[in-house]
Every structure is written in structure tokens, then in C-alpha cells.
């Protein structure tokens, strides 16, 4: 079985985002960028399925700027087999990303596509579900455990009330939640080896996908700031404050 794993280059999760003074977006100049953490979990899961002998090839895909190559190389160093960069400097919305991924899947014929549940920049939480819709496949979102079982896959999902298990026919789409696995670090020899793994350069036009945004961003601003309040000296003072609030 072939597994496709889309990966996105995003602001590193340790960086506090700052909105640009002109209100057009978040300032990403000279900011550390990394692979979206949920996508790392997706790459790791694919590698584990390959190690178990369930999958035989892992193709990683990124839709983004030339620098997204670095993200793809990271995935290759973790253990993916080859990469496709669909290069564009435009911001591509989840629907257009899903259309590109569908076109790639039409060529590649995957058994599973494993995606992060959301990217920590736009926080959309859409691409996996949209891809599943376009491909007419079942979707196991927010996965915390994935077990291949013949022609189907059992997915334990993190839901509001706890956990839920669904059984999906293959091929299927999976999106990862935080507890699915702990991604490995690439070793130095693997980072070297990744440099010679195949990386194909494509554009959205190669897949016939129009990436013009459907949502127009009119303005971006910082949320109202909360300022620090008071410090209380001891538990008695805290009890007094809670009483003032009427909660004790």
C-alpha cells in the first residue's frame, strides 16, 4: 500500500506570532519556520505502518513556496521515500490544497492519505475532510490510534466526550491528533541520505487547479490584550479574592 502524507511549512510552534503593523497578516520575516507539528505526527504514523510491513511506499507532498523543500527534506530524513513540491508563493486555501492532493492521488492511487488535523497557522482544520469528500472516501479525523485490518482501517478518534472508534473501508483519509504517536528525530546519516531521495517539482497548474482565494482577508489584528492583574501573598488572600468574586 502507498501512503501519501501532505506536509505544511508553518511558523514554529515556539514562536509568538506578531501581526504586521499594516494589518495585512502575520509577520513571518526572519521568523523560524518548521513542519506543522500535526504533519510530523502524520509522517511518523506512515513510517510506522511501513515498518510494520503494511505500507511499502511513502510519498510526501507540500503545497507552498520553494522553501517548503526543506520541510519535505525533513520528512524524507524521517523516513519518507520521495517527495512532491507543488510550488507557489500564493497562500493556498484548504479547498485548493485538497484539489491538488486529489489530482496527485488520482496519479498515485494511495491506500491511505494521512494529514495533520489542522495547521497551526490558519487553524482551519479542513483539508483532510475536504480531500475525503473530493475522493469519495471515508475519513478518520482526529486519530489517536490507527489499525489496518485487511481491507479496512480501525480509527480511534479523539472526540469532545472522550474516544470513539470507527471502521473505514480502504482507501481512506486519516487526520492526526496529538496522542497518535511521538514523532522521531531524523538522525544525521538519514538527513544526509535524504538529500539524494527524489523530489519532484510541480505547480498547481500542472494539476489544473485554480488557487485564487475564495475568502478575502480584509484585515488582521491582534486580539485585545489581557494585562496582568494582582499577585496575592498567600492562600488566605486568595480565598478572600475568590469570595469577592462570589465563587467561594
Amino acid at each position: 500500500m502507498k501512503i501519501i502524507v501532505p506536509v505544511k511549512r508553518v511558523i514554529d510552534y515556539n514562536v509568538k506570532p506578531r501581526v504586521k503593523a499594516d494589518g495585512t497578516g502575520v509577520d513571518l520575516a526572519n521568523v523560524k519556520m518548521s513542519m506543522n507539528p500535526f504533519d510530523e505526527i502524520a509522517v511518523e504514523e506512515a513510517i510506522r505502518l511501513k515498518e510494520k510491513g503494511v505500507a511499502n511506499e511513502i510519498v510526501v507532498v507540500s503545497v507552498g513556496p520553494a522553501k517548503a523543500q526543506e520541510t519535505l527534506r525533513t520528512a524524507l530524513a524521517m523516513g519518507a521515500d520521495r517527495a512532491i513540491l507543488v510550488q507557489t508563493d500564493d497562500e493556498v486555501e484548504p479547498l485548493a490544497v485538497a484539489k491538488i492532493l486529489k489530482a496527485i492521488d488520482d496519479e498515485e492511487q494511495s491506500g491511505l492519505v494521512i494529514l495533520g488535523k489542522q495547521a497551526i497557522d490558519d487553524d482551519s482544520n479542513q483539508t483532510g475532510q475536504m480531500l475525503a469528500a473530493l475522493l469519495g472516501r471515508p475519513q478518520g479525523t482526529f486519530a489517536s490510534e490507527v489499525t489496518i485490518d485487511g481491507n479496512s482501517v480501525m480509527v480511534k478518534r479523539e472526540v469532545d466526550g472522550g474516544l470513539e472508534t470507527v471502521k473505514l473501508t480502504l482507501p481512506a483519509i486519516i487526520t492526526t491528533d496529538l496522542r497518535l504517536n511521538e514523532p522521531r528525530y531524523a538522525s544525521l546519516p538519514n538527513i544526509m541520505k535524504a538529500k539524494s531521495k527524489p523530489l519532484a517539482n510541480k505547480t498547481p497548474a500542472d494539476y489544473g487547479v485554480e488557487t485564487a482565494p475564495r475568502l478575502k482577508t480584509l484585515q488582521v489584528s491582534e486580539p485585545p490584550v489581557r494585562s496582568a492583574g494582582i499577585k496575592v501573598a498567600d492562600v488566605d488572600a486568595l480565598v478572600a479574592k475568590l469570595k469577592e468574586l462570589g465563587v467561594a
Partner: protein
């Protein structure tokens, strides 16, 4: 007048509160219709018809909808979208699962987790863990929107008298089946509906210690219990306790953060709380930058003392 279809979240017996916030948001877009899809769920449809301001309830009662399997529910929603201009779902785990599938089937870009309705097609929504609020305008013919529950008042659950119309099931898509659920039952209030929340972090050491420290305090205050990702990852409490960017979004009257550092991903889930109380032994912990009331102390002394004195 434009018509909006709201997906009703329920367990085949009662309606989940998040639906009521979605109804409030939808009512700002036009006439509100509801979809109750479930199995043996007539009681839910009756309750839905009673929500104030609702024009009509569409009821699809079929075993295929018993567990909100998205592969079955999404085509049903699409079948109703010829006669509606917008689809709205609460930004719950189910809503987030369903809405994008509907959006793609309609070839529409979804607007996720709206905070406000600014115009017929204009919304605000959080990005970058709530550190950047975007005003976005849709150019699509139809809208697909999910609604952040904490950002909208709940519609009145009673007072309405909408008609209920049974609709044809689109059946089982044959792609998925429900196997089991591990849904925790708790006597405590639900996290997203609670007035007071007591949350614990990595500092709580293990599940037993978390329970011994956090639960008695929560019970004294009549509070719900939450946690940081670190506490959930370490297995102190189940995943549904996680508050944050990628967990639950809460905005209670009082949020008490104990042994939580205040990473941006955690703040994203609780910084709209009315009053934030933090107990942490590190005076430089970022949580103190947003806490209204801070106590610098070792939680293993302070929390039992606090519980005892309340």
C-alpha cells in the same frame, strides 16, 4: 430572505448546548432551519422545534445517522443545500468533522470557528492560536461556517414553535461503520458549559496526584476539571480534558490554572475567561502575564490549604 441550515448536535435524546450558539450565529445570517439527523430521535426534533427563532426543523430519522457518521450525514446535508444559502455547524469535534466535507462537496471555502458575523458574508475568525484575528469575506455563492461556542450567546432553548418536516434519508454510504465509544460520565459540569474550571498541568506528577489535588478543589467550587496538553499526554487525565488551541475552547467566569506554565497553545483555549487565577511556583511563568489573580506558591502546599479553607 436568505435561509441558513444549522446542523443540530445531539445524542438521539437531547440537544448539545453548542448547537444553541450556532443558532444565534445563524440567526444573524437569515431565516434559521435546523437539521436533526439521527436514529429514533423524534424527541430531539421536538426540542429543536422549540428553540426560539427557528423557522423549520428537517428531521431525518434513519439508523445510518445514529452516530453522526460523516460519510452518511454529509450527503444528506448537501441534499438540502439547493434550498439553503448557508450551512452552519458548531465548532465541536463532530461539527469540525462534518462541515469541511460538506463545503468540498458544494465547492465552497469554509470559514472555520467564527467569532462574529460582520456582514452577510463577512466574519471574524481566530488564526495562529488566537494571536491574529482575521476579518474574512467569502466570495462563494453559498456559505459554510463553523461557530465557536464561546463567542455567541446561546439561543433560548424554549419559546419557539417551528414545524417539523420529515425528509428522505440518503442512506448508508457503505464507507464507514461505528464500532464503539468510550465516553466518560462525570458528575461534574461539562467543560465547555461550566461557570468555573479548575485545570491542572504537568506539575501534577501523575494521575493519582492530579486526582488528589485538583478534584477536591473542583468539587468545592462546583467546577469542571480541565488540563494542559502536557497533563493529557502524560496520561494524568483523558484527552477530553485538554484545553487549548487544539483542544477545547472555554470561557468560564473563573478559570483556575494550577501548575500550568501558560504556553500560547494553552492560552488560546482559555484567555477569554472572565477571571483567570493562576497558582505556580515560578514567578516568571507566562501564565502570570494574563492572570487576574496570581499566587506564587508550591501547589502541593497551596492547593490542599485552599481546598480546606473554602
Amino acid at each position: 430572505m436568505s435561509k441558513t441550515l444549522v446542523w443540530v448536535e445531539h445524542d438521539n435524546a437531547s440537544i448539545k448546548d453548542a448547537t444553541l450558539s450556532a443558532v444565534s450565529a445563524a440567526s444573524q445570517l437569515g431565516e434559521v432551519h435546523l437539521l436533526v439527523a439521527g436514529s429514533d430521535c423524534a424527541a430531539v426534533a421536538d426540542a429543536a422545534a422549540g428553540i426560539a427563532g427557528v423557522g423549520k426543523v428537517h428531521l431525518a430519522d434513519d439508523a445510518a445517522y445514529a452516530n453522526a457518521l460523516v460519510e452518511n450525514v454529509a450527503p444528506l446535508i448537501v441534499s438540502l443545500m439547493d434550498s439553503h444559502d448557508a450551512f452552519v455547524a458548531p465548532a465541536t469535534s463532530n461539527g469540525k468533522n462534518i462541515a469541511p466535507r460538506v463545503a468540498a462537496l458544494l465547492d465552497v471555502a469554509q470559514v472555520s470557528e467564527i467569532l462574529s458575523v460582520e456582514g452577510p458574508k463577512t466574519f471574524t475568525r481566530p488564526t495562529y492560536a488566537g494571536n491574529a484575528i482575521a476579518v474574512v469575506e467569502s466570495s462563494d455563492a453559498k456559505l459554510v461556517v463553523t461557530v465557536r461556542g464561546t463567542a455567541f450567546a446561546k439561543a433560548e432553548a424554549t419559546g419557539g414553535s417551528a414545524s417539523i418536516e420529515a425528509i428522505t434519508s440518503t442512506g448508508d454510504a457503505g464507507l464507514s461503520s461505528f464500532v464503539s465509544a468510550e465516553i466518560a460520565k462525570s458528575e461534574r459540569p461539562e467543560l465547555t458549559a461550566a461557570k468555573i474550571i479548575v485545570s491542572g498541568g504537568r506539575a501534577l506528577r501523575d494521575g493519582d496526584t492530579f486526582e488528589a489535588m485538583i478534584f477536591p478543589l473542583a468539587d468545592k467550587l462546583g467546577a469542571a476539571v480541565g488540563a494542559s496538553r502536557a497533563a493529557v499526554d502524560a496520561g494524568y487525565v483523558p484527552n477530553d480534558y485538554q484545553v487549548g488551541q487544539t483542544g477545547k475552547i472555554v470561557a468560564p467566569e473563573v478559570y483556575v490554572a494550577i501548575g500550568i506554565s501558560g504556553a500560547i497553545q494553552h492560552l488560546a483555549g482559555m484567555k477569554d475567561s472572565k477571571t483567570i487565577v493562576a497558582i505556580n511556583k515560578d514567578e516568571d511563568a507566562p501564565i502570570f502575564q494574563i492572570a487576574d489573580i496570581g499566587l506564587i506558591a508550591d501547589l502541593f502546599n497551596a492547593v490542599p490549604e485552599l481546598t480546606g479553607k473554602l
